[in-house]
C-alpha cells in the first residue's frame, strides 16, 4: 500500500523584498495505491513545487504530505523522481547510473549490476549499458532516468514533464512504454505535464490546478481501459473539457 495523502498544503517562497510568492494554497489530494495521476495546469501554477514537496526536496509552508501514513520529511529513495531536465550523471556509464541508488544502499556490485540490467532491459536499452549518457538521444536518456528511479523499487514514482523536451513521435512512444512499465511494476505514479493530450492518454485521474497560488480546481476521472484511442470522440471531448478549464482559469486572472 503506497497511497499519498496531501493535506491543507500551501507553499510560499520568501522574496528579497520581504514579501512572498504564494505558489500553492490549500491543496488537498488523496492518491491511492497503484494509481496513475496527472497534474495539469497553467504554467507557474505550482505543479513542479507540489511534486518537489512530495519528493521531500522542498518543505511545505503549512500542511503535510504522508506516504503510507508516514510524513514526508526529506528526500527518500522510496519516492523516485524523474526530472524535467536531463539528470543522468554524465561521468557514469548507463549501467552505473541505473545502479546508483543500489550503490548508495550498499548493495554489492554483482547484485546491483544484475538488478540494473533487469531495469535496463525493461526500458529496452540493454545494448546501451556501457555507453555514456552523451551517446544517448533525449528519449533514451529519460528512459535511463526512469530505469534509475525504478531500480530503487520506490513506492511512488514522481515525474516532472519527463517527456517535455522530446519530439511528438518519441513522446507518444515513451507514453506507451511508460504505461507498460506501470502495468508491470504497479507503482503509484504522479506525473506532471502541460500536455492535456498526454494527461488524458495516461492517467486514471487528471488533477487540474488553478493559476497561482495553485489549488485544485477539478479532478477528472478517466475510467477507460488502456491503450486509449486518441482519435476517439470521447477522448477529444475530455481533452476539450480540460483545455477549456485551464483557459478559463488563466483568463480569470
Amino acid at each position: 500500500m503506497s497511497g499519498v495523502t496531501i493535506r491543507d498544503l500551501s507553499k510560499a517562497f520568501p522574496k528579497e523584498d520581504g514579501t512572498a510568492t504564494q505558489a500553492l494554497a490549500g491543496v488537498n489530494l488523496e492518491i491511492s495505491d497503484e494509481e496513475f495521476i496527472c497534474l495539469v495546469g497553467p504554467s507557474g501554477c505550482g505543479k513542479t513545487t507540489l511534486l518537489r514537496i512530495i519528493a521531500g526536496l522542498e518543505t511545505a509552508t503549512t500542511g503535510d504530505v504522508t506516504v503510507d501514513g508516514r510524513a514526508v520529511t526529506g528526500p527518500d529513495p522510496k519516492r523516485g523522481m524523474v526530472f524535467q531536465e536531463y539528470s543522468l550523471f554524465p561521468w557514469r556509464r548507463v549501467i552505473d547510473n541505473v545502479a546508483f541508488g543500489l550503490e548508495m544502499k550498499g548493495v554489492a556490485k554483482e547484485e546491483r549490476r544484475r538488478t540494473a540490467d533487469y531495469y535496463l532491459e525493461l526500458v529496452g536499452l540493454s545494448q546501451f549499458r556501457d555507453a555514456y549518457p552523451y551517446e544517448l538521444s533525449g528519449g533514451m536518456r529519460q528512459r535511463v532516468a526512469i530505469a534509475r528511479a525504478l531500480a530503487n523499487d520506490p513506492d511512488v514514482l514522481l515525474m516532472d514533464e519527463p517527456f517535455g523536451a522530446l519530439d511528438a513521435q518519441t513522446r507518444n512512444r515513451m507514453q506507451k512504454e511508460l504505461l507498460s512499465l506501470w502495468e508491470q511494476t504497479k507503482k503509484t505514479i504522479v506525473f506532471v505535464t502541460h500536455s492535456v493530450d498526454e494527461a488524458v492518454y495516461l492517467s486514471d485521474r487528471i488533477v487540474v490546478l488553478s493559476p497561482r497560488p495553485g489549488s485544485i480546481r477539478e479532478i477528472i476521472d478517466i475510467p477507460w481501459s488502456r491503450p486509449r484511442d486518441r482519435t476517439s470522440a470521447e477522448f477529444a471531448e475530455v481533452r476539450r473539457r480540460v483545455l477549456r478549464m485551464i483557459d478559463e482559469t488563466e483568463n480569470a486572472q
Partner: protein, 258 residues
C-alpha cells in the same frame, strides 16, 4: 600537400630562418658571446653539458621541487576548495582570508620560505606551492559552485543522505573537469616560480639553480641551454598531463568537448 604538412613545413622553415638570423646577428653584429651567444655556441654548450652529465640530476631535482609544491597545493587546495564550495559557512569564514592572501605574488613568499624552511628542498617547494595553491583552490571552489542543482537533487532522491556522500558521489565527479583545468594552470604557474625558487642555492642541482650559477660564471651559452630546457620541460609536463586527463578522466565528456 595537405594543411597539416603545410603547417609543419612552414613552421620548420621559420625556425631555420630564425636560427640563421640569430647566428648572423650574434656572430657579425653583436660579436660577443657574453651578450648574445650564437646558435653554434649554444649547441656546443649543450653537447658539453650532456657529456659532463649533470643535466639529468638537474631535471630530477627541479622535478622534485616542482612535485613537492604541486602535491602540497593539490592536497590543501582541493579540500579547502571543496569546503568553501559546498558549505556556505566555510565560504564566509575563509573567503576574506583567501582574498587577502591571493593577490600576494608567489615570489614575495621567498623570504619567509627561507626563514621557515632554511635553504632546503622544502623551501623551494613552498615557493612553488605559493604559486600553485590558489589556481587549484579557485578551480575546485568554482567547480563545486557550478555543479548543476539537478545532479545534487537526483543524488538526494536516489539515497545520498549526507553531505559526504553527495560530495563523494555527485559533486566531486561533476567538478573533476574544473579541478583538472585548475591543476593545469597551477602547473604552469608553479613551473614559472621554479627559477626564482632555486635562485638562493637551496640545492646544488636544478635547472633554475644552474641557470643562476652559470650566469654568475658568465657562461651565457649554458644559460641559454637551461632556458630552452626549462621551456621544453614545461611544455612536455603540460602535454603529458593534458593527454592523461583527456584520455582517462574525461572519457565521459567526449561529447561536450568541442
Amino acid at each position: 600537400m595537405n594543411r597539416q604538412t603545410q603547417k609543419r613545413l612552414l613552421g620548420i622553415a621559420a625556425l631555420v630562418v630564425t636560427a640563421v638570423i640569430w647566428q648572423i646577428v650574434a656572430e657579425y653584429v653583436v660579436g660577443r658571446s657574453f651578450i648574445l651567444p650564437s646558435v653554434t655556441d649554444v649547441a656546443g654548450a649543450f653537447a658539453n653539458l650532456l657529456e659532463s652529465g649533470t643535466l639529468l640530476a638537474d631535471i630530477a631535482v627541479s622535478l622534485e621541487h616542482f612535485g613537492i609544491g604541486l602535491l602540497a597545493a593539490f592536497f590543501l587546495g582541493v579540500p579547502i576548495g571543496i569546503l568553501m564550495g559546498w558549505f556556505r559557512v566555510a565560504d564566509f569564514l575563509l573567503d576574506p582570508i583567501i582574498e587577502i592572501l591571493r593577490p600576494i605574488p608567489p615570489l614575495a613568499w621567498i623570504p619567509f620560505a627561507i626563514i621557515w624552511f632554511g635553504l632546503t628542498t622544502q623551501a623551494a617547494g613552498f615557493v612553488i606551492f605559493a604559486g600553485a595553491f590558489f589556481p587549484i583552490l579557485t578551480a575546485t571552489y568554482s567547480g563545486f559552485r557550478d555543479v548543476p542543482k539537478v545532479f545534487v537533487e537526483a543524488g538526494k532522491v536516489l539515497g545520498c543522505d549526507t553531505s559526504f556522500e553527495l560530495i563523494r558521489h555527485v559533486a566531486l565527479p561533476a567538478a573533476i573537469p574544473a579541478i583538472a583545468s585548475g591543476i593545469r594552470i597551477a602547473m604552469g604557474v608553479g613551473w614559472m616560480c621554479l627559477v626564482a625558487a632555486e635562485m638562493f642555492g637551496v640545492s646544488r642541482y636544478g635547472l633554475g639553480y644552474q641557470l643562476w650559477h652559470n650566469y654568475y660564471l658568465h657562461q651565457m651559452p649554458n644559460v641559454v641551454v637551461y632556458m630552452l630546457i626549462l621551456g621544453f620541460a614545461g611544455l612536455i609536463i603540460d602535454r603529458i598531463f593534458r593527454n592523461y586527463v583527456d584520455g582517462q578522466l574525461l572519457r565521459w565528456r567526449a561529447g561536450e568537448v568541442a
